[in-house]
């Protein structure tokens, strides 16, 4: 069968000693990043992109995927033991995880998180294997109008789920799009917003913006308030393994979390944080022990942890099959792949099967490594939290500068990065989310190209977007996602407007 050939091909790539080592390093670094408070998967991947420069694309993505998974998993450890989520998708894990740890059941909580992540990660990988080629095949029918509509939808879905205020999130998106227009316009050769600066002709370097907005703004936020909260840290008492009763309760939660996380967070593009909250809600209504939730129920760890990993895996489907990132983290990965000269998308499955299947196989390997690596080493992960904050801050500064400088050997980039750090910090103070900026910046160029090509096909008429079925369905999805919070008001408006006089 075709799939088997591909799987064999994939493992022949992933199981080379070098790639195995990279997967291990990726999972390890990712877990460190996930455990450290403040450095989420986005910051982590942005900071670590430069170490992939010397690598062939194949190995680079294997490393990045490992970091991504590790970071998704690592957050759960600190949630459970310190009640401090390493990233937003493990916020829910704190609720029951920390309660379990207080009752001396940190071991089973950590085990449930690890097993849940493993099951969900494996499921997502299998789905990627089964659905991926079909989705890519389907996407081959997409012309520029469909691509434009798809990117617009992706952008609006992510934006509508970012931050407290929709206006702020949308504003952030337009900032990102505006950044993408800086530099020479490749179609017409006209320079835009470069102010006569030669280095700007190439456009804003993606990594400058990503590291500035995520890593340096985090540094500045920490510097502005160095008074560290003294956190209560719980130790692991008793065994790590689940009892029979735990298994009985956790297994349905694993399954519910995996499925809801994969479909809501992954395929629908809602992201890992939303996936974990949805899964927690699901446990609250479906679990047999719903009254215990919030007081240390294992379901409250098992479900959401499975969900956020399933979502992370699902997001890879968008990235690989469509070439469209479904989240901030995958946007950064797309940016990195473009820097490596790879254009993910439906053609990738045909043109570079060793790349795609090598990655898929390495995701299996990575998941196994996570499970084997993390449970025995959990004591070490917690020790990472002993690194003093000021040293951590200095190291993030160091790696930010190192990373950005190695891209272009440009001092101007370093200064710009500091500027974006300040900008990112101001945005955080204003509670404006930064993830839409980076997503929009990555998609901006691609969107403009698709829009141009569409208008060439239709000879300048925007009607082309409304006469093609796939495009119009996608555009409707975009409208729904953006108006969703306002349905109540819109409904009220229409009721008033059409009230019989």
């Amino acid at each position: 069968m075709d799939i088997w050939n591909n799987v064999v091909l994939g493992f022949s790539v992933a199981l080379t000693p070098f790639n195995l080592l990279l997967a291990l390093i990726g999972v390890f670094l990712g877990t460190v990043i996930g455990v450290l408070p403040g450095i989420g998967p986005m910051t982590g991947i942005a900071l670590l992109i430069p170490i992939t420069f010397g690598l062939p694309p194949n190995s680079a993505i294997i490393l990045m995927a490992g970091i991504y998974y590790g970071a998704m998993y690592g957050g759960s450890t600190t949630s459970i033991l310190v009640n401090a989520p390493g990233e937003s998708s493990s916020v829910v894990t704190c609720i029951d995880g920390f309660e379990m740890a207080k009752k001396g059941r940190a071991g089973p909580a950590l085990a449930a998180a690890a097993i849940g992540s493993f099951i969900a990660g494996t499921f997502a990988t299998i789905m990627l294997m089964v659905l991926g080629p079909a989705i890519a095949q389907f996407a081959l029918n997409f012309g520029p109008p469909e691509y434009f509509a798809l990117m617009l939808t992706g952008l609006t879905v992510v934006t509508s789920l970012a931050g407290r205020s929709l206006v702020k999130a949308l504003l952030a998106t337009t900032f990102g799009l505006a950044f993408s227009t800086i530099g020479i316009d490749l179609q017409s050769g006209v320079s835009r917003f470069t102010f006569g600066n030669l280095e700007m002709l190439d456009g804003l370097e993606f990594l400058v913006v990503a590291i500035g907005l995520f890593a340096l703004s985090e540094v500045l936020a920490n510097l502005a308030d160095m008074r560290q909260a003294v956190s209560e840290r719980l130790s692991i008492k008793g065994g790590l393994w689940l009892t029979k009763e735990d298994w009985k309760r956790a297994t349905p939660a694993f399954i519910r979390g995996t499925l809801s996380g994969f479909f809501v967070g992954g395929l629908a593009g809602a992201g890992a944080a939303v996936a974990s909250f949805v899964s927690y809600g699901l446990e609250k209504s479906a679990s047999k022990h719903k009254d215990e939730l919030g007081h240390g129920a294992i379901e409250g760890v098992a479900g959401p942890e499975a969900a956020n990993n399933a979502a992370a895996g699902g997001a890879m489907i968008h990235l690989l099959c469509l070439g469209i990132p479904g989240s901030g983290t995958t946007a950064i990965m797309l940016g990195a792949l473009l820097m490596l000269g790879l254009q993910p998308g439906p053609l990738l499955f045909q043109q570079q099967p060793d790349f795609v299947w090598g990655l898929i196989a390495s995701m299996y390997v990575g998941n196994v490594m996570l499970l084997v690596l993390n449970l025995p080493l959990v004591g070490m992960w917690v020790k990472i939290l002993d690194i003093p904050l000021y040293l951590l801050v200095l190291f993030i500064i160091l790696f930010s500068f190192l990373g950005v400088y190695t891209v272009n050997n440009s001092v101007q980039d370093l200064v710009l990065m500091v500027g974006f750090g300040v900008f990112g910090y101001i945005l955080r103070r204003l509670d404006i989310p930064a993830a839409p900026i980076i997503l929009a910046m990555v998609l901006g160029d691609l969107m403009e190209q698709a829009l141009r090509q569409s208008l060439i096909i239709s000879d300048g008429s925007l009607g082309i977007f409304f006469t093609r079925p796939i495009s119009i369905i996608l555009l409707m999805l975009a409208v729904i996602s953006i108006t969703n919070p306002y349905w109540k008001q819109i409904g009220a408006f229409f009721r008033r407007a059409f009230r019989p006089a």
Partner: protein
Amino acid sequence: MKAEKIASLVFTAIAAAYLVGTFLIKEPPLRQQMGPETFPRAIGVLMLFLSILYVRQQFQHQPAQDDEERAAIIGAEEKLGAFVDYKTLGIMLVLMLIYGLSFEPLGYPVATLLMFAAGIFVLDHNHLKRDLIIALIASFGIFFLFRFVLRVNLPAGTLDFLFR
């Protein structure tokens, strides 16, 4: 919040400036269905519209209430605390700029060592000996790692004579 009112006005000004900027984009020699200014102009209009909405929200008698329930569902990041230590923030920002500008003249290892040492001095100098050893490893260690293992040449600057 007063600062946010100012910020919303600044964003509006930026959006307006961006939109004006799109009118200054040169006409390409070959005209296509969609010129180089179309996409930016659409973004500019959208940005201006949204920033005006933002201003309106800020200057309303009752600014739009944050939807905390929604924030909880989508896992929005926690807001930053009101406290800001401007002194530390300012010193470290200047330090970062100097670090960036001295990257080439001083060279990576020396610039990094100085930045790290200054950072330790500003932030916490209770463990000087330990931290300075870390700084040495972080500057010279990384430099040699990049040069000889990863084969990436970081600027040697003042130490250039060693590698001639």
